[in-house]
Symmetry: C2
Subunit: 340 residues, 2 copies
Amino acid sequence: MNLKQLSHMLSLSQTTVSRALNGYPEVNEETRRRVMDAAKRHGYRPNPSARRLATGKSGMIGYVLPTGAAVDIDPHFVEFLSGLGDYARSHELDLVLSPADADDEETTYRRIVANRQVDAVYLSSPRPADKRLALVNTLGIPFIVHGRSEGFDFDYPYLDIDNEGAFHEASRLLIQLGHKRLALINGNERETFAIHRERGMRRALAANGLALGERHIRSAAMTEENGYRAARRLLEEAEPPTAIVCSSLIMALGVVRAVRDLGLAIPGDLSLVAHDDVFPWLRPENFPVPLSTTRSSIRLAGARVAERLAARISGLEEGARGEVWPVDLVVRGSVAGAPA
Amino acid sequence: MNLKQLSHMLSLSQTTVSRALNGYPEVNEETRRRVMDAAKRHGYRPNPSARRLATGKSGMIGYVLPTGAAVDIDPHFVEFLSGLGDYARSHELDLVLSPADADDEETTYRRIVANRQVDAVYLSSPRPADKRLALVNTLGIPFIVHGRSEGFDFDYPYLDIDNEGAFHEASRLLIQLGHKRLALINGNERETFAIHRERGMRRALAANGLALGERHIRSAAMTEENGYRAARRLLEEAEPPTAIVCSSLIMALGVVRAVRDLGLAIPGDLSLVAHDDVFPWLRPENFPVPLSTTRSSIRLAGARVAERLAARISGLEEGARGEVWPVDLVVRGSVAGAPA
DNA sequence: AGAGACTTCCAAAGCGCTTTGGCTATTTTG
DNA sequence: CAAAATAGCCAAAGCGCTTTGGAAGTCTCT
């Protein structure tokens, strides 16, 4: 059932039927009703390919997925996706994942824009002066960044959590508990979120006359193994930290294992705080010692990004609006006063 | 730059240029070269929307993503995606995720097929007599199932791992080590993979005159917490198992925690084997006691599914070919002889 | 040399929608 | 009451590609 058939059936022109269906004003309300009715009754659905060719709009949002044998997709991605899908579903928005060589995402961005494959895109895990961001900004496709970049002479729309504030608060808590040697186990130091977290921690330390020594900060991909290694290194130093702030729950698993291997205890010998993106399959309250966290649901972020993307597509949102979500600090058993 | 301009520039008809580009035989090789050349030089790329309207092919593969507030996307999904993307990238195949209400995926399947939004789809986590499978089979769109279903009177193309064989082998090993009370901590019992695993285990036990008691089998979503709970229940029984086979590494984390909480030791009091889908961020060799596993890379499966999907789209693969991958049994420190 | 078979190319007809530019009544306005 | 504005509808022109149905030229064969 296509437009032609439907309009013939109604003894109307395709023009009128199309307009009636798309809510244009120059059509009699009575006629519109008739059209709407017939459309519903016959289950008419405009062919998206045709509509797309005519309008240039696809009704889909895009994400360029970096791939490669050595590239691991962040497990956070799936939770973010959950949220995104949750919103998208109710608006019949589909998501197009365009796999790209991790070393050359530009080609892919250009392709999906040139082809008008999607109406908007989102970027994630941005770095300072991220090329993708500059690119997408000049390409002129609506977009939103999940996270933030730095060092641009233009503003851009984004959704981020207050990473700096979160780690500032976590550190402040530890300092108040008497800790003087804090350490940071961070994610990839080239990503903005990691930089912000470090910044927040340094600020809290500085405010109390303390500093974060070079060897008290470790950065690596957020795996259990890297968490373990970082923790071992830190704890085997001459003057080991008495508190660690850690960028991910997965890494925290490794930290806990390292602490055990070394015959130490949490929180007796070491206080631990980690950032929690809220995974359904790994919860901080279920750690051997319930883990204190800075918490922010990445799933909600996904839903919000979808919502804003949809708003941008339909012209309801414009400009370079940045949105920063506060982060909860949840104190559980893994923190205690500094050992004497 | 579109076909019209390009053909005008070459003083050829659109027909000829289109044919030259698409490899049709009825065009002079010399002409073809000229066309190819010009196309490359001017960076001509056929507009996919137009091509799509004309051919009905979209160059994309689809996946219906069940969503909802209470629905968690499996963390395995992201690894599978990695593999899929890896292959898709090299073939400029995009993946369309169509979010659907988890209680009504049918509408979404019908929509993407009716709209010809994608050339093929894949399904995952099938259950016995899975409705989606029957649906997609009648809708007539090329598809592949990742996993298997049961109870249909038709065959269908799938890619699965030998879950039954894997758990059979794991159980056999434990039995050989003298264990008589084995327990199974399984994933959702309604999914086929879980049924197959249980079957494999029962078969190994039966072959040795043993059985799997009702209370020695637990099924639940594969989270750390559920692993913990299942393990506690099992180990607090009057006659606790001396060996557990567990369907997921994430659940195994919970099992390990439970064992610790109860003051028991692996492998002294309990032998443990788990299935490992190979996550980059959580490796069995890094468990407190290196974990024995049945191992199969879900990432490779993703790549293979993409490959077969591509083959089906282009007509290179046909029929209901099923492919079952063997699973490695990797023995590490978490298994030992049964306690006396 | 003429018929038939290739080879190589083209004009034009879709694919199914949106949108432009009227056209005809009917209402409103001065 | 004539002129102007408005309401409601339509025919036809795209959007940019693929594909059908020739047509013209070249070979092959008898």
